[in-house]
Symmetry: C2
Amino acid sequence: MYPREWPPVYDNDYFPPKDSRYWFEKMETMDAREREKVIFKKLQAQMEWAYNRSPFYRRKWEAAEIRPQNIKTLQDFQSVPFVRKDEIRRDQEETPPFGGYLCIPIGEVLRTHGTSGTTGRPTAFGIGFDDWHRIANAHARIMWGCGIRPSDIIFIGSFFSLYMGSWGALIGGERLRAKCFPFGAGVPGQSVMALRWIKDMQPTVFYGTPSYSLYLAELAKKEGYVPRRDFHFRIMFFSGEPGAGIPTTKRLIEETYGCACIDTGSTAEMTPWMTNAECEFRTGMHLWNDIVYTEVVDVKTGKVVPFGEEGVPVYTHLERTSQPMIRFWSGDLTMWTDEPCPCGRTYPRLPNGIYGRADDMLVIRGENVYPSAIEEVLRGIEGVGGEFRIIVTREKVMDELVVQAEYTQDIANRGEKNSGVFENLQKEITTSLKSRIGLRPTVELLEPNTLERTEFKSRRVIDKRDFIKRVQ
Amino acid sequence: MYPREWPPVYDNDYFPPKDSRYWFEKMETMDAREREKVIFKKLQAQMEWAYNRSPFYRRKWEAAEIRPQNIKTLQDFQSVPFVRKDEIRRDQEETPPFGGYLCIPIGEVLRTHGTSGTTGRPTAFGIGFDDWHRIANAHARIMWGCGIRPSDIIFIGSFFSLYMGSWGALIGGERLRAKCFPFGAGVPGQSVMALRWIKDMQPTVFYGTPSYSLYLAELAKKEGYVPRRDFHFRIMFFSGEPGAGIPTTKRLIEETYGCACIDTGSTAEMTPWMTNAECEFRTGMHLWNDIVYTEVVDVKTGKVVPFGEEGVPVYTHLERTSQPMIRFWSGDLTMWTDEPCPCGRTYPRLPNGIYGRADDMLVIRGENVYPSAIEEVLRGIEGVGGEFRIIVTREKVMDELVVQAEYTQDIANRGEKNSGVFENLQKEITTSLKSRIGLRPTVELLEPNTLERTEFKSRRVIDKRDFIKRVQ
């Protein structure tokens, strides 16, 4: 049943009793202190694995005077330095394509995925054969916890490409022996077709982003469908953006579709990314910490905060042989608790989900956007003047990005005679931003010296989405 | 090794000797007459399976006075009536969603895929768990025959959604234990990203459509890459359209990328669709007829034609339990031969590939387009007059569709005063056709009575692609 060896080998034919709420009942409901022993054992093996195989970790830990065998408690583990996103990006640049933290021979990489790299060099994920199966087992187990069963038909309405979200939901669904309908998304015209197939095939589970599900509902109404009546989703589970954890959005989705709206997801680097996931009771995401060990740490001190307090989730793989992340700094903001959930699982929980960022990164329609990338594009365009603003809003269901940019005096002079000058500049900014950040912004041109001058990057960013909290 | 039971159960861990050219050497190289005995045994079991489980086949065969046990030879099998595309579409309409030819309980359908349904009701494919694994095994075996090995990295540059092409290549690659990089295609901006990942990850095998590979090469040159130098594809295999079997296109792809260009593919209904596939010698597609039994029949009489002659491929599943197709009329045109191939396989072969259609269906950029669908759209738009023409060309690498339509006298009168009238009509036609057939045509408006009047549908279609042959 629950594997004892490391790296763990899961039985791909294992199933819990049909009427069980749990996949591995004992592990999911045991005393949290007891579980820490299991976690610590896996953690030691994971650290040894990385230390012995990865120049990246060996260098990093030696610099910090850390040796795996000296880490004797979870308390000790807090001395291990964080891994940051730009650090692994740099490491992949130096050791392409998978970085010096790849702990298996490159020939054993089964699947390649990655980030879209809209804000610089993309990060490549190389996942080994064994990891692929462990990810499938982890996701099947957590999806079972969401209430999904083999009799369900899972419609996957997200893009199949680099993005790990869709693939993780698919292999979890397959391992669960549910019927999978990997429809995808993103191709022009595909959403109208999706509606017809959803009507005809009557899938019972939906996976995608919350904003896409709401977009689909809007479109459905336009096309004459009533989602509650014509579709048959009993569970919709989400990742990629915070929506499904925001009470108003959750309620809107549940009312629109007549379903349970379930929030999941950590980050692609951590695949299995579903180790943050709500159960059927939807009281906030459980941290399935015998698969990925999660600490919530203070934004400034980096120390683990007590339950009830806010901080940054720091993730550690406990069963990943290919590209383990050990103390990965997510940069997200959350609050954790150990108050019991009616489901009986004894994992810590994020009652308000992931609700903000501890750096200046914006998540807009699921894309990670750094204000610095927008600034760089603007600075490179002749005719763009001194100051700019980045404004993010959410109108109904979709995030909107507005970029306000002042033009130069020269443009002002030429534009007086020929309004095409403004038009061309606006087009150039729009196209350049689109190709860099992957989103089409609304660009507003302003006269020189309209905006207040500032040296503070953060003042240039106005995020009007009231459910996003920012700490910097 | 080669399974003897029916339905066949493949050993998912089986591999041929490392240096073997063949996956199942004996089966692939045995005397063709001997192999017919194996084929016939599988055929009998397949027919029994369908007869006992499918109202569709039972009804159809009873009407034709066919009983499986009376079919005693492959010669007898020629009396079994063809299954046609519109017949299964109608059957799915009557017995949604998978039709009366679904031979497993609907709860056992593991995966749902389908046609895009741009020309009417889409066809739904319901594939069972066991079939899914058989398909993976069939494709791994055939991909091995193409020269692909576990050490290869397969870049899949086609759309992951309903389309079976991408998924079939992926599960074949996974079963082969090759490294898979399912990048997908179709989303705006994705191709530029593809180039960067191909450069960085150095995949050795490409799957997609021939025209997309040539588009990608054009784009690569624009972006400053030299495909032969910067990319590392040693094998590129294709399906979805005839290109890879057309000598000039094959040469162009091989010279552009410095690779072996390999043609594969029957049709999505037949999944495993790779049972037409070239080997590394590229002498035309082998018919891997112990997996799918393929006959080539006379367009008019429906009788099997001798080797060396032209006809329509008619396909029969030999190991499909979910939605077996038994004598499926593909409507394609080909010529077959039994002349030996240097690879030593004794399968029949299609030396010129699939090079035409025996009905009026057009395949444009991989989409099936019926002229009748275009006609229906045009007839439904106010302002469109009497006659029209459909012109298909290929400029460089991409198919182009031109629709010429006469406008009415009323439009002519109003358009004289206000040219916006023409513009609006043109836009309406373009949009309506796009949403119906899935392709954006170039619409040309003509004055009333410009085109010659005709009652012959075929005269309304002008296919200028010289590699496509049409027989009606």
